[in-house]
Every structure is written in structure tokens, then in C-alpha cells.
Amino acid sequence: MRRLIFIIILIFVAERCFSHGVGYSLIKNGVGIKVFYEDIEKTPMSYSEVKIFSPQDKTSEFQTGVTDKNGCFVFLPDTKGKWRIVVNDGMGHGLVKEIEIQDNFKVSDQQIVNFSLWQKILIGISIIFGVTGILFYLTTRRIGVKDAHS
């Protein structure tokens, strides 16, 4: 009799154990973002708050979390469209980026365009000199016309 009761209890406990088991599967896809300060060392924005908003719901977060030590964060989009990523380091720096997720749930390579610091400086200085050159030309021309009339 004791043996029977023991077997029943064992079966019952084993059944409970199986019902609380946790399965898993490895995810090979996902969209990752690496956030860094645009300083001379490209310091990673470590442990910064991240909020992900899906194309369907732009107010409630699809996912929240923090970047890792290297400033990386990965999420798994479940639909195509424009996803919004908001990163905040809580110290006045942050990033708000919209990325287009394609049918295969991946980001198109065309969106990943980063200028180097020197390219940025060169582009900026070229535009500034171009604009001031045009302004200088227009101002001197206006004065020249005024002088010719007087």
C-alpha cells in the first residue's frame, strides 16, 4: 500500500514538473543597433535606455531595455514598416531613429550611411564658404550698382 501511495505521489510530482518546464529555440534573425557618441574615440553609449516603437503603435513601446556595455541593442521586428528607436543616456545625449524594415524583417543596407568626422567637417566648411561667398558677391554687387547710380 505504501509503495502504491509513493508511486502515485511520484507520478503527480513528475507531472507537475513537466507542466512547468521551459522550452527554448535560438533566434538567428533580429535587428541590431550600435549606439556611440560621435567623439574622436566613438565611445559606446553603454547602459542607455532604449525604447522601440512598432509601425502600428507609435505611442506604446513594443520593447524597452538598455544597451549593453558596447552600446549594442537587438530587437526582433514582427512586421514590416517604419520602426522608431529612441535611445536616451539620461545625461542629455540621445538618438531618435526611424528604420525601414523590409518583408524579410531585415534593414536595407542603404540606410546604414555614416560619414567620417573629417568628411562631415569638409562638407560643412564647403557649404559655409560657398554660402558666404555668394553673400559676399551679392552684397558687393549691390553696393557696386548703388555707386554706379549715384
Binding site: 557618441y37 560621435e38 565611445t43 539620461g90 554660402v131 561667398g133
Partner: protein, 203 residues
């Protein structure tokens, strides 16, 4: 100190944009009446200088990064109005080209760096115009600008006030000292090489 888009709430955005647009409108009108053509290339060079030093950021303790501003230096050389226009144009360009600071939050960035840096910085400098006071003014306006940045982010519920304040003030304390030293050294170099540049009209 370049606040990106999506970080400030509507009332903070509206207030800072209104103040900055009013300043831009008034200063642009005033300068367009007073400016001489010879001054335009000089303002272009100053804009390129500000654009460049604001893009080059340095990592500091605490895992964040900071950059120089150049507001007081430019205002001491060309005047607060010219300085403000130069800083604003550099900020607009950085925002449009490289998303270095948001387009909608431009008003807040112009307020923190341009208005405080140029006008308040120049007022402090005018108490006793000297290289030392220009350096002190650079330091103070860097700290005050960072303080206003914290207030704007706190009002918009983006940061915890104490944590944000300590982090921002500590990081900007370092850059404030570097900014002050840069202002002093550049003014010293100009005094020795081209002293005539220190006597330009302060528009």
C-alpha cells in the same frame, strides 16, 4: 549639449523655439542694416571654425562625451549679434546635414548655446573686457548652458533632475575649463599675430 528631436515636450519646444526665432529675426534685421561686405568672409571663417570645433567631441569620465562651443570667443571678436548668427547657422547646418541635434529642437539648442553663450557671455565679458574675463565667461556660460539643458530635459520628463544635473555639470565642468583655456589662448594668439582683429565693430 545638442538635444535631438523627440526629447522635448511641446511646451518646452514652443517656448524655446519662440525665443530663439524672435532673437534670430531681430538680430538678422539689425545686422543686415549694419554689416559691411568685408565682414562677411570673416563671419564665414568664424562659422567654419565654430562648426568644426562643435563637431569634434571628446569622451569624458562617466561614459559620455562633450565638445567645445566657441560662443564667447566669437562674440568677443565680432560682437554678440554676429556671434549669435554664426552659432545659429552652425547649429542649423549640423542639424540638417548630420542630425547633430534635432531640427525641431533647434530652438532649445540655439537658446542653450547661442543666446546664453553669446549674449550672456558678452555681458559678463563687458564687465571688465580682458582675456581673463573672456575665459571666465566661456567657463560660466558652458555651465549655465548645460544647466538650462538639464532643466529643459527635466521639464520634458526625460531625465531625473539630480542624476542629470550631476552628470551634465561634471562633464561640462571639464569642457568649461577647456573652453576657457581655448578662449584665452586664441585671444592671446590673435593679440600677438593680428591685433587689429580685436578692434572690429562689435555688432
Amino acid at each position: 549639449m545638442h538635444i535631438p528631436d523627440g526629447f522635448l515636450d511641446i511646451k518646452t519646444l514652443a517656448t524655446t523655439n519662440l525665443i530663439s526665432i524672435s532673437f534670430l529675426f531681430y538680430v538678422s534685421r539689425r545686422i543686415s542694416k549694419l554689416i559691411l561686405p568685408e565682414r562677411i568672409p570673416l563671419m564665414g571663417i568664424a562659422s567654419a571654425f565654430v562648426f568644426t570645433i562643435q563637431l569634434i567631441a571628446f569622451p569624458v569620465i562617466g561614459g559620455t562625451s562633450v565638445h567645445l562651443l566657441g560662443s564667447v570667443l566669437i562674440s568677443v571678436l565680432l560682437g554678440p549679434g554676429s556671434g549669435f548668427l554664426i552659432i545659429s547657422s552652425a547649429l542649423i547646418l549640423q542639424s540638417i546635414l548630420f542630425q547633430h541635434g534635432g531640427l525641431i529642437s533647434l530652438g532649445a539648442n540655439i537658446f542653450n548655446i547661442g543666446i546664453i553663450g553669446c549674449f550672456l557671455g558678452y555681458l559678463i565679458y563687458r564687465i571688465y573686457p580682458s582675456k581673463i574675463l573672456a575665459a571666465i565667461s566661456s567657463f560660466l556660460t558652458t555651465i549655465i548652458g548645460a544647466f538650462f539643458c538639464v532643466i529643459e530635459l527635466y521639464i520634458s520628463q526625460r531625465i531625473d533632475f539630480k542624476v542629470g544635473l550631476v552628470a551634465m555639470l561634471l562633464s561640462h565642468l571639464i569642457i568649461g575649463i577647456i573652453e576657457g583655456a581655448m578662449t584665452f589662448l586664441v585671444l592671446l594668439a590673435i593679440e600677438r599675430i593680428r591685433p587689429d582683429l580685436l578692434n572690429l565693430d562689435k555688432i
